[in-house]
Amino acid sequence: MTLKRLALAGAISVMGSSAFAACSYENTTEIKMLSAGFEAWKAVADAMSECGNFKAELDQEFRTKQPAAFEANPSLYHLGGVSNGTVTPLLNAKTIRPLDDLVAKYGANLSPNQLIRIDGKIMAVAMMVNTQHLMYREDILADLDIATPTSWDEVYAAAAKIKDAGVVDYPLGATMKSGWNLAQEFVNMYPGFGGALFKNDNTTGVNSDAGLKALETMKAGLAFMDPEVLVSDSTYVQQQFQQGKIAMANLWASRAAAMNDEAESQVAGKIKMAAAPTAMAGGAPATTLWWDGIVVAANITDAEADAAFKLAMEGMDSDMVQANNDAAIWLVQGFQPGPLSQGAIATATANPAPPAYPSTTQMGLLHTVLGNEIPAFLTGERDAAATLVAIEEAYTTAAKEAGVLK
C-alpha cells in the first residue's frame, strides 16, 4: 500500500506544478514573493503558482529578511506578504511602491475596504483580517448554565465555576508564551482599559493606572490556567482545545478552522466563537485588529510590478476564497462568513471598536520590551508597579538607541 501511495503522491505533485487550468492567463514574467507561512498565505501562493513562473517563499524568518531583501536593488522579491505590524519597516524605508495606478488597472474586484491608504496613496492591498477573540466550549458552558461571557470579569467568574465543576484540566488557555505572544496579550488588554500606549513626545504611557489594571487582570487569569502557560503559544492553546483540556481562551481568529478539524480535534463542533471580552464596562473589546495583505517592491521595473500585481490579484480572487473559505476572515469578495467567523465579526463591529494594532517604529520597540519584562511580574519576581517602571526604562533605552527619543 505504501509504495503505491508514494507513487501516487509523486504523480500528483508533478501534475500540480505544470497545471495552468485554474488560472485565467499564463504568467510569463518571473515573480517571487516573500511572506509568512500560515494557511491563508499557502492558499494564496498556491492559487498564484497555478499561473506559472511564480516562486513563493513562505518563511518564518521573513521578518528578518524582508526589510533587507526589499532594500536591495533590484529587490530580491517582487511581492511581499505583510501585516500591519510588519509593513512598518517597508513603509519607513519607502521600499514598497504606491499601487494606485495598478489598482485602477487590475483591481476592479477589490472593495474599498481592502485598500490600505497612507496619506491617500494605496500602499498595500489587504486580503484578510485577524483578531484575538473568545473561543469557548459551548457544551460545557451550557451544562453549567453559564451565559457567554462578555467581559474579563465574567470570563473569570465562568472559569471559577468550571474549575469547581472540574470538567476540564484548566478552565482557561492563553497565548502567554514569553516574548511576542505575551506582549500581544498586554497590547490587547491595556487599550481595553482606555490606556494610551504612547504620549505625544514618543515616551510610553504604560506606567499608568490602566497599565496596573491590565497587568493585574492578566495575572488574575493565572489561577485558572495551566502553570506552564508562559511557554504556550497559539499552537499550544489550539492543541489544548483540541484535546479537550481547556474550556475558554482568547485566541486568534485564524485558528478557528482547526477546532473543527476531525483529524486533529476531539471536540469538533463543540467550540463557539464570541467577541473578545471587554476589560471595563462600556469599553471596547480588549483586543487589537490586524490585517494581512500584499505589497509590491519599489526597486523593480514597472513592467515587473505590473505583472506581479496582476498575478497577486489572480491569487486573491473569489475562486481562491471560495475554495478556502474557513482558512481566514477574508476581505475578498465571495467570502461567506460562517459560524466560525462570527466572533471575529462581532469583535470588529463592536461599538466602541477595538483599535487596529499600530504600525509605528515605537510600537515595535515597546512590543519587544513588554515581551521581555512582563514574565518577571507573572512569575512573581517583581510587583506590577516595579514592572511598569522597568518597562518604561527599557523602552527609553531602546528608543534612544533607535533615534525616536532624544
Partner: protein, 386 residues
C-alpha cells in the same frame, strides 16, 4: 583485552552493576529518539495523547483503518532482526570483498546506501504485498491491532517535496566536508610541523574564534549577502552574484566557522605522525608539498575520516546559518523542519515535522554504523591529544 590476566578478572557484582549501568544508559540514550519515531506513525490525536499506551497502540489511528496485525508485526520484526544482524555481519564482509585500501571508504558508502535501498524496498514494497493476502487468509490473527500510519511520511516526502530539501542538505554537507577537509588538512599539517610562536598564537586565535557565539557573526552576514550584487558591481560588473540564497556561499561560511575545530583536531593528529617520516622524504629531495602528498597522505585517513565526521555533523545539523542565508528554493532539511513549527501551525503540521525529523535522522544512523570503527580508531590514533 582477550588475554586478561587473573587479577584483572572482574567480580560478579562489578560486572553486573557495570552492565546494568550500560543498559540504563542505552535506554536513556535511545528512548527520546525511539519515542518520536513512534509518534511519527500515529494520527495527530494519538501522537499527542496523554496516556503513553494510547501513543504506542494508537486507538484513534486504528479506528481510521490504519493498523498492523499480529502477523504484520511478527514478520516485520523477523525481517528487521535479520536486517540489523546482517548489517553488522554480512555487510562488512561484502564491503571487504569488493573494495580495498583507500577505496574502502567509497565501498562502505556505496554498500551502506545500497543496503538501505534494498531494505526500504523489501520492508515497504515487498512485505506489504506478501502480507495483504496473508492477513486476509488468517482471520483473527490478520485483524489490525496496532495503529500505524505512514500518511505523514507520504505527506512530507510527496506533497511537501521534502526530497528537494534532502538534495540541498546533501549538496551543502558534501561541500562543507570536502572543502573543510582539504583546507583543514593543509593547515593542520602546517601547524603541526611548525615550531614558531606564530603557529601557536594562530591556534589560540582559532580556538577563540571557535568560542564565538555564531549568531553574532551570522546576523552580520545578512545585509552583505543580500546586497552583494550591488557591492561587488564595481569589481565584477554585471556578473556579480547575489550571495543570499546561494548554497556555495553558505558552504563557505560553514567551512570558515568549522575551520578552528578542524585544524585543531588535524594538528593533534599530524603531531602523532613521526616527523622523521616526512623528513626522510625531504632528504630524498621532496619539497614539503611533495612530502605531504607522498608520505603523509597515505597514512592520514583515520584522522581525516574522524574529523570529516564532525564536519559532516556540523554541516548537516546546522540551523542558524542555513535558515538565515538560504531562500526557500535552496532550503536544507533542518530549517525546513523548523518551518513546520512557525507561528501558525496545526497539530498535523507538527506530526509531519516529527516524521521529517525522524527521516533526517536516518542518514545519520547509516553514517555512524558505517564509520563507527573508524571513529574509534581515528581517535585512538591521536586526533585528540589535547
Amino acid at each position: 583485552m582477550s588475554n586478561t590476566s587473573k587479577a584483572m578478572r572482574q567480580s560478579l557484582a562489578l560486572r553486573l552493576s557495570s552492565n546494568a549501568f550500560l543498559l540504563f544508559w542505552c535506554i536513556v540514550a535511545a528512548f527520546p529518539i525511539l519515542w518520536i519515531a513512534v509518534m511519527s506513525v500515529k494520527s495527530p490525536v494519538d501522537a499527542f495523547a496523554q496516556s503513553p499506551m494510547d501513543v504506542i497502540f494508537g486507538p484513534n489511528t486504528l479506528a481510521r483503518g490504519d493498523g498492523l496485525s499480529v502477523i504484520d508485526i511478527a514478520l516485520g520484526l523477523i525481517v528487521l532482526f535479520f536486517a540489523i544482524r546482517w548489517m553488522f555481519t554480512r555487510l562488512p564482509t561484502w564491503v571487504a570483498r569488493y573494495s580495498t585500501g583507500s577505496g574502502r571508504v567509497i565501498g562502505w558508502l556505496l554498500g551502506a546506501t545500497a543496503y538501505a535501498l534494498v531494505f526500504l524496498l523489501v520492508f515497504f514494497g515487498l512485505l506489504p504485498l506478501v502480507l495483504a493476502p496473508l492477513n486476509a487468509l488468517t482471520g483473527v490473527l490478520g485483524e489490525p491491532v496496532l495503529g500505524l500510519t505512514t500518511q505523514h511520511y507520504v505527506a512530507v516526502w510527496g506533497e511537501n517535496e521534502f526530497y528537494r530539501n534532502f538534495m540541498n542538505s546533501m549538496l551543502v554537507t558534501a561541500g562543507v566536508v570536502t572543502i573543510s577537509l582539504t583546507v583543514g588538512t593543509l593547515a593542520g599539517y602546517g601547524l603541526a610541523r611548525s615550531e614558531s610562536d606564530l603557529a601557536f598564537w594562530l591556534l589560540i586565535l582559532a580556538l577563540i574564534f571557535r568560542a564565538l557565539p555564531h549568531s553574532v557573526l551570522v546576523a552580520g552576514y545578512l545585509p552583505w549577502f543580500i546586497n552583494s550584487a550591488e557591492i561587488l558591481r564595481p569589481i565584477f560588473g554585471d556578473l556579480s552574484p547575489t550571495l543570499y540564497g546561494q548554497p556555495w556561499a553558505v558552504i563557505a561560511v560553514l567551512v570558515a566557522i568549522n575551520q578552528p575545530f578542524t585544524i585543531w583536531m588535524l594538528r593533534s593528529f599530524f603531531q602523532n605522525i613521526p616527523a622523521e617520516l616526512d623528513e626522510a622524504a625531504r632528504v630524498d629531495g621532496c619539497s614539503h608539498f611533495q612530502a605531504f602528498r607522498r608520505v603523509i597522505m597515505p597514512v592520514m585517513w583515520p584522522g581525516v575520516i574522524t574529523t570529516g565526521l564532525f564536519s559532516f555533523l556540523l554541516g548537516y545539523n546546522d540551523f542558524l546559518v542555513t535558515s538565515l542565508l538560504l531562500d526557500a528554493q535552496n532550503q536544507t532539511m533542518v530549517p525546513a523542519i523548523a518551518g513546520y513549527f512557525n507561528r501558525e501551525t496545526t497539530t498535523t503540521d507538527q506530526v509531519e515535522a516529527v516524521a521529517a525529523a525522524v527521516s533526517i535522522t536516518a542518514p545519520l544512523f547509516l553514517l555512524v554504523m558505517v564509520f563507527q570503527r573508524q571513529i574509534v580508531s581515528g581517535l585512538t590514533a591521536g586526533a585528540v591529544k589535547g
